[in-house]
Subunit: 137 residues, 2 copies
DNA sequence: CTCATATATGAACAGCTCTTCAAGTGACAG
DNA sequence: CTGTCACTTGAAGAGCTGTTCATATATGAG
Protein backbone atom coordinates (compact mmCIF):
# COMPACT_ATOMS: atom_id res chain seq x y z
CA UNK A 1 0.00 0.00 0.00
CA UNK A 2 2.80 2.39 0.78
CA UNK A 3 6.28 1.88 -0.54
CA UNK A 4 7.32 5.50 -0.79
CA UNK A 5 10.14 6.68 1.43
CA UNK A 6 8.63 10.17 1.64
CA UNK A 7 5.47 11.41 3.32
CA UNK A 8 2.54 9.04 3.30
CA UNK A 9 -0.51 8.06 5.28
CA UNK A 10 -0.53 4.72 7.08
CA UNK A 11 -3.57 2.98 8.49
CA UNK A 12 -2.67 1.58 11.88
CA UNK A 13 -5.17 0.04 14.26
CA UNK A 14 -7.93 1.32 12.00
CA UNK A 15 -6.70 4.88 12.32
CA UNK A 16 -5.05 7.06 9.71
CA UNK A 17 -1.70 8.40 10.79
CA UNK A 18 0.69 10.64 8.93
CA UNK A 19 4.22 9.28 8.71
CA UNK A 20 7.41 10.38 7.00
CA UNK A 21 9.11 7.08 6.27
CA UNK A 22 6.39 4.48 5.90
CA UNK A 23 8.80 1.61 5.23
CA UNK A 24 10.89 2.31 8.30
CA UNK A 25 7.75 2.61 10.41
CA UNK A 26 6.42 -0.73 9.15
CA UNK A 27 9.78 -2.43 9.71
CA UNK A 28 10.20 -1.09 13.23
CA UNK A 29 6.63 -2.03 14.09
CA UNK A 30 7.44 -5.51 12.85
CA UNK A 31 10.42 -5.84 15.20
CA UNK A 32 8.59 -4.40 18.20
CA UNK A 33 8.01 -7.05 20.89
CA UNK A 34 4.44 -8.06 21.72
CA UNK A 35 2.58 -5.48 23.84
CA UNK A 36 2.40 -7.80 26.85
CA UNK A 37 6.15 -8.43 26.66
CA UNK A 38 6.81 -4.70 26.60
CA UNK A 39 4.59 -4.26 29.64
CA UNK A 40 6.28 -7.13 31.50
CA UNK A 41 9.71 -5.71 30.76
CA UNK A 42 8.64 -2.25 31.84
CA UNK A 43 7.30 -3.85 35.03
CA UNK A 44 10.67 -5.39 35.81
CA UNK A 45 12.40 -2.04 35.27
CA UNK A 46 9.76 -0.49 37.50
CA UNK A 47 10.62 -2.88 40.31
CA UNK A 48 14.24 -1.76 40.05
CA UNK A 49 13.35 1.93 39.92
CA UNK A 50 12.93 2.56 43.63
CA UNK A 51 16.21 3.31 45.47
CA UNK A 52 15.19 1.36 48.56
CA UNK A 53 14.10 -1.67 46.58
CA UNK A 54 17.27 -1.43 44.50
CA UNK A 55 19.37 -1.37 47.68
CA UNK A 56 17.59 -4.50 48.90
CA UNK A 57 18.36 -6.35 45.69
CA UNK A 58 21.97 -5.18 45.63
CA UNK A 59 22.34 -6.39 49.21
CA UNK A 60 21.04 -9.79 48.15
CA UNK A 61 23.54 -10.14 45.28
CA UNK A 62 26.05 -11.78 47.65
CA UNK A 63 23.61 -14.23 49.26
CA UNK A 64 20.61 -14.47 51.50
CA UNK A 65 19.83 -12.12 54.39
CA UNK A 66 17.04 -11.97 56.95
CA UNK A 67 14.54 -9.13 57.07
CA UNK A 68 16.07 -7.31 60.01
CA UNK A 69 19.55 -7.42 58.48
CA UNK A 70 18.13 -6.12 55.22
CA UNK A 71 16.56 -3.28 57.17
CA UNK A 72 19.92 -2.52 58.81
CA UNK A 73 21.84 -2.67 55.52
CA UNK A 74 19.44 -0.48 53.60
CA UNK A 75 18.43 1.89 56.39
CA UNK A 76 14.70 1.30 56.19
CA UNK A 77 12.06 0.28 58.69
CA UNK A 78 11.35 -3.43 58.89
CA UNK A 79 7.80 -2.74 57.80
CA UNK A 80 8.95 -0.95 54.67
CA UNK A 81 11.35 -3.80 53.92
CA UNK A 82 8.60 -6.35 54.38
CA UNK A 83 6.28 -4.49 52.02
CA UNK A 84 9.02 -4.21 49.40
CA UNK A 85 9.93 -7.89 49.71
CA UNK A 86 6.28 -8.85 49.34
CA UNK A 87 6.15 -7.03 46.03
CA UNK A 88 9.40 -8.55 44.81
CA UNK A 89 8.23 -11.98 45.94
CA UNK A 90 4.95 -11.62 44.03
CA UNK A 91 7.01 -11.11 40.89
CA UNK A 92 9.30 -14.07 41.71
CA UNK A 93 12.34 -11.82 41.88
CA UNK A 94 13.20 -12.87 45.42
CA UNK A 95 12.29 -16.01 47.36
CA UNK A 96 12.10 -16.65 51.09
CA UNK A 97 13.49 -19.47 53.20
CA UNK A 98 11.96 -19.79 56.66
CA UNK A 99 13.86 -20.90 59.71
CA UNK A 100 12.03 -20.55 62.98
CA UNK A 101 10.65 -17.06 63.16
CA UNK A 102 13.25 -15.69 60.79
CA UNK A 103 12.76 -15.28 57.05
CA UNK A 104 15.85 -15.39 54.85
CA UNK A 105 15.44 -13.83 51.43
CA UNK A 106 17.53 -14.49 48.35
CA UNK A 107 17.66 -13.12 44.83
CA UNK A 108 15.84 -15.70 42.73
CA UNK A 109 15.62 -14.23 39.21
CA UNK A 110 18.85 -14.66 37.17
CA UNK A 111 17.62 -12.20 34.56
CA UNK A 112 17.29 -9.49 37.21
CA UNK A 113 20.71 -10.43 38.57
CA UNK A 114 22.18 -9.76 35.12
CA UNK A 115 20.44 -6.41 34.88
CA UNK A 116 21.75 -5.44 38.32
CA UNK A 117 25.29 -6.55 37.48
CA UNK A 118 25.24 -4.58 34.25
CA UNK A 119 23.81 -1.51 35.94
CA UNK A 120 26.30 -1.60 38.81
CA UNK A 121 29.19 -2.02 36.38
CA UNK A 122 28.40 1.49 35.22
CA UNK A 123 27.73 3.29 38.50
CA UNK A 124 29.97 6.24 38.90
CA UNK A 125 31.17 5.95 35.28
CA UNK A 126 28.17 7.93 34.13
CA UNK A 127 28.26 11.61 35.03
CA UNK A 128 25.59 12.32 32.48
CA UNK A 129 22.45 11.49 34.43
CA UNK A 130 21.82 14.79 36.17
CA UNK A 131 18.23 15.78 35.42
CA UNK A 132 16.88 19.19 34.49
CA UNK A 133 19.76 20.47 32.41
CA UNK A 134 17.46 21.78 29.70
CA UNK A 135 17.43 20.41 26.15
CA UNK A 136 20.37 19.93 23.82
CA UNK A 137 21.92 21.90 20.92
CA UNK B 1 33.43 -3.58 67.69
CA UNK B 2 31.31 -6.61 66.86
CA UNK B 3 32.76 -9.81 65.56
CA UNK B 4 30.04 -12.21 66.66
CA UNK B 5 28.14 -14.01 63.95
CA UNK B 6 25.04 -14.25 66.15
CA UNK B 7 22.64 -11.59 67.38
CA UNK B 8 24.18 -8.23 68.13
CA UNK B 9 23.40 -4.55 68.14
CA UNK B 10 25.01 -2.33 65.56
CA UNK B 11 25.18 1.45 65.66
CA UNK B 12 24.40 2.77 62.20
CA UNK B 13 23.91 6.44 61.40
CA UNK B 14 23.87 7.13 65.14
CA UNK B 15 20.99 4.73 65.65
CA UNK B 16 21.00 1.37 67.39
CA UNK B 17 19.70 -1.43 65.21
CA UNK B 18 19.31 -5.09 66.01
CA UNK B 19 20.97 -7.41 63.53
CA UNK B 20 21.49 -11.15 63.28
CA UNK B 21 24.79 -11.35 61.45
CA UNK B 22 26.73 -8.20 62.23
CA UNK B 23 29.71 -9.14 60.09
CA UNK B 24 27.63 -9.82 57.01
CA UNK B 25 25.74 -6.58 57.51
CA UNK B 26 28.96 -4.60 57.80
CA UNK B 27 30.45 -6.31 54.72
CA UNK B 28 27.37 -5.76 52.58
CA UNK B 29 27.15 -2.14 53.69
CA UNK B 30 30.75 -1.78 52.65
CA UNK B 31 30.04 -3.02 49.12
CA UNK B 32 26.88 -0.95 48.71
CA UNK B 33 27.34 1.80 46.08
CA UNK B 34 27.19 5.43 47.20
CA UNK B 35 23.66 6.67 47.88
CA UNK B 36 23.73 9.08 44.94
CA UNK B 37 24.84 6.28 42.60
CA UNK B 38 21.97 4.11 43.80
CA UNK B 39 19.54 6.95 43.17
CA UNK B 40 20.97 7.63 39.70
CA UNK B 41 20.72 3.97 38.79
CA UNK B 42 17.16 3.77 40.09
CA UNK B 43 16.40 6.86 38.01
CA UNK B 44 17.61 5.15 34.85
CA UNK B 45 15.49 2.10 35.59
CA UNK B 46 12.59 4.45 36.24
CA UNK B 47 12.96 5.96 32.79
CA UNK B 48 12.70 2.45 31.31
CA UNK B 49 9.72 1.52 33.45
CA UNK B 50 6.97 3.10 31.38
CA UNK B 51 5.70 0.94 28.50
CA UNK B 52 5.32 3.87 26.13
CA UNK B 53 8.77 5.26 26.87
CA UNK B 54 10.19 1.75 26.57
CA UNK B 55 8.55 1.35 23.15
CA UNK B 56 10.10 4.65 22.04
CA UNK B 57 13.57 3.50 23.05
CA UNK B 58 13.14 0.09 21.45
CA UNK B 59 12.04 1.81 18.25
CA UNK B 60 15.22 3.90 18.34
CA UNK B 61 17.52 0.86 18.70
CA UNK B 62 17.78 0.57 14.90
CA UNK B 63 18.44 4.23 14.23
CA UNK B 64 16.92 7.67 14.30
CA UNK B 65 13.25 8.45 13.73
CA UNK B 66 11.24 11.68 13.63
CA UNK B 67 8.58 12.49 16.21
CA UNK B 68 5.59 11.68 14.02
CA UNK B 69 7.04 8.32 13.01
CA UNK B 70 7.74 7.54 16.65
CA UNK B 71 4.13 8.37 17.41
CA UNK B 72 2.98 6.03 14.62
CA UNK B 73 5.29 3.21 15.71
CA UNK B 74 4.37 3.37 19.37
CA UNK B 75 0.71 4.30 19.02
CA UNK B 76 0.81 7.47 21.10
CA UNK B 77 -0.20 11.07 20.46
CA UNK B 78 2.57 13.32 19.21
CA UNK B 79 2.17 15.38 22.34
CA UNK B 80 2.75 12.38 24.59
CA UNK B 81 5.78 11.39 22.51
CA UNK B 82 7.18 14.90 22.73
CA UNK B 83 6.78 14.95 26.52
CA UNK B 84 8.47 11.57 26.83
CA UNK B 85 11.34 12.57 24.56
CA UNK B 86 11.83 15.76 26.54
CA UNK B 87 12.33 13.70 29.68
CA UNK B 88 14.69 11.26 28.00
CA UNK B 89 16.60 14.16 26.47
CA UNK B 90 17.01 15.83 29.85
CA UNK B 91 18.73 12.66 31.06
CA UNK B 92 20.92 12.47 27.92
CA UNK B 93 19.40 9.13 26.94
CA UNK B 94 18.26 10.37 23.55
CA UNK B 95 19.50 13.27 21.43
CA UNK B 96 17.80 15.26 18.68
CA UNK B 97 18.94 16.28 15.22
CA UNK B 98 16.96 19.04 13.59
CA UNK B 99 16.29 19.30 9.90
CA UNK B 100 13.85 21.95 8.82
CA UNK B 101 10.75 21.56 10.92
CA UNK B 102 11.42 17.90 11.63
CA UNK B 103 13.23 16.59 14.69
CA UNK B 104 15.04 13.28 14.36
CA UNK B 105 15.77 11.49 17.63
CA UNK B 106 18.39 8.84 18.29
CA UNK B 107 19.38 6.68 21.24
CA UNK B 108 22.45 8.38 22.69
CA UNK B 109 23.33 6.46 25.87
CA UNK B 110 25.27 3.23 25.22
CA UNK B 111 24.69 2.06 28.76
CA UNK B 112 20.93 2.22 28.27
CA UNK B 113 21.33 0.48 24.92
CA UNK B 114 23.01 -2.42 26.73
CA UNK B 115 20.25 -2.59 29.31
CA UNK B 116 17.64 -2.64 26.55
CA UNK B 117 19.48 -5.34 24.60
CA UNK B 118 19.79 -7.48 27.70
CA UNK B 119 16.15 -6.98 28.64
CA UNK B 120 14.87 -7.75 25.14
CA UNK B 121 17.02 -10.87 24.95
CA UNK B 122 14.80 -12.24 27.68
CA UNK B 123 11.34 -11.13 26.55
CA UNK B 124 9.05 -14.07 26.15
CA UNK B 125 11.57 -16.37 27.85
CA UNK B 126 10.25 -15.32 31.22
CA UNK B 127 6.78 -16.59 32.05
CA UNK B 128 7.35 -15.84 35.70
CA UNK B 129 6.52 -12.18 35.87
CA UNK B 130 2.78 -12.33 36.36
CA UNK B 131 1.89 -10.19 39.37
CA UNK B 132 -0.49 -10.98 42.19
CA UNK B 133 0.03 -14.69 42.41
CA UNK B 134 0.25 -14.52 46.25
CA UNK B 135 3.47 -15.27 48.14
CA UNK B 136 5.33 -18.55 48.08
CA UNK B 137 4.59 -21.83 49.94
C1' DC C 1 -0.23 -21.44 79.58
C1' DT C 2 2.00 -16.30 78.83
C1' DC C 3 5.24 -13.29 76.90
C1' DA C 4 8.70 -11.52 73.72
C1' DT C 5 10.41 -11.66 69.12
C1' DA C 6 10.40 -11.64 63.89
C1' DT C 7 7.87 -10.81 60.26
C1' DA C 8 3.54 -9.76 57.73
C1' DT C 9 -0.40 -7.09 56.60
C1' DG C 10 -4.12 -3.29 56.13
C1' DA C 11 -5.55 1.28 55.79
C1' DA C 12 -4.67 5.80 54.78
C1' DC C 13 -2.37 9.59 53.13
C1' DA C 14 1.27 12.50 50.60
C1' DG C 15 3.73 12.92 46.58
C1' DC C 16 4.78 11.73 42.12
C1' DT C 17 3.73 10.44 37.01
C1' DC C 18 1.43 10.20 32.83
C1' DT C 19 -2.01 11.68 29.82
C1' DT C 20 -4.75 15.13 27.64
C1' DC C 21 -6.14 19.49 25.84
C1' DA C 22 -5.09 23.99 24.46
C1' DA C 23 -1.99 27.13 23.07
C1' DG C 24 2.88 28.48 21.48
C1' DT C 25 7.10 28.46 18.34
C1' DG C 26 9.64 28.31 14.25
C1' DA C 27 10.20 26.73 9.37
C1' DC C 28 8.62 26.55 4.80
C1' DA C 29 5.18 27.30 0.78
C1' DG C 30 2.78 30.36 -1.85
C1' DC D 1 2.86 38.68 4.54
C1' DT D 2 -0.33 34.63 5.67
C1' DG D 3 -1.28 29.96 6.51
C1' DT D 4 0.09 25.37 7.44
C1' DC D 5 2.92 21.92 9.32
C1' DA D 6 5.94 19.54 12.80
C1' DC D 7 6.94 19.84 17.00
C1' DT D 8 7.00 21.87 21.84
C1' DT D 9 5.18 23.41 26.03
C1' DG D 10 2.08 24.41 30.19
C1' DA D 11 -1.54 23.39 33.14
C1' DA D 12 -4.60 20.36 35.26
C1' DG D 13 -6.43 16.21 36.80
C1' DA D 14 -6.75 10.98 37.46
C1' DG D 15 -4.37 7.34 39.03
C1' DC D 16 -0.51 5.06 40.88
C1' DT D 17 3.37 4.33 44.49
C1' DG D 18 5.75 4.20 48.67
C1' DT D 19 5.68 5.32 53.41
C1' DT D 20 3.90 5.09 58.08
C1' DC D 21 1.34 3.50 62.01
C1' DA D 22 -1.30 0.15 64.07
C1' DT D 23 -2.44 -4.40 64.33
C1' DA D 24 -2.02 -9.45 63.21
C1' DT D 25 0.28 -13.93 62.96
C1' DA D 26 3.52 -17.28 64.29
C1' DT D 27 7.43 -19.19 66.56
C1' DG D 28 10.11 -20.15 70.59
C1' DA D 29 11.35 -19.39 75.54
C1' DG D 30 10.20 -20.05 80.18
Amino acid sequence: MNSSSSDSVLTIDGCSVKVVDGDRVAAVRERMPAPEDVVDTADVFGLLSDPNRLRLLVALLDGELCVCDLAAVTGQSESAVSHALRLLRAHRIVAARRSGRMAYYRLEDPHVRMLLDLALEHTGHTEAIHPERGGDH
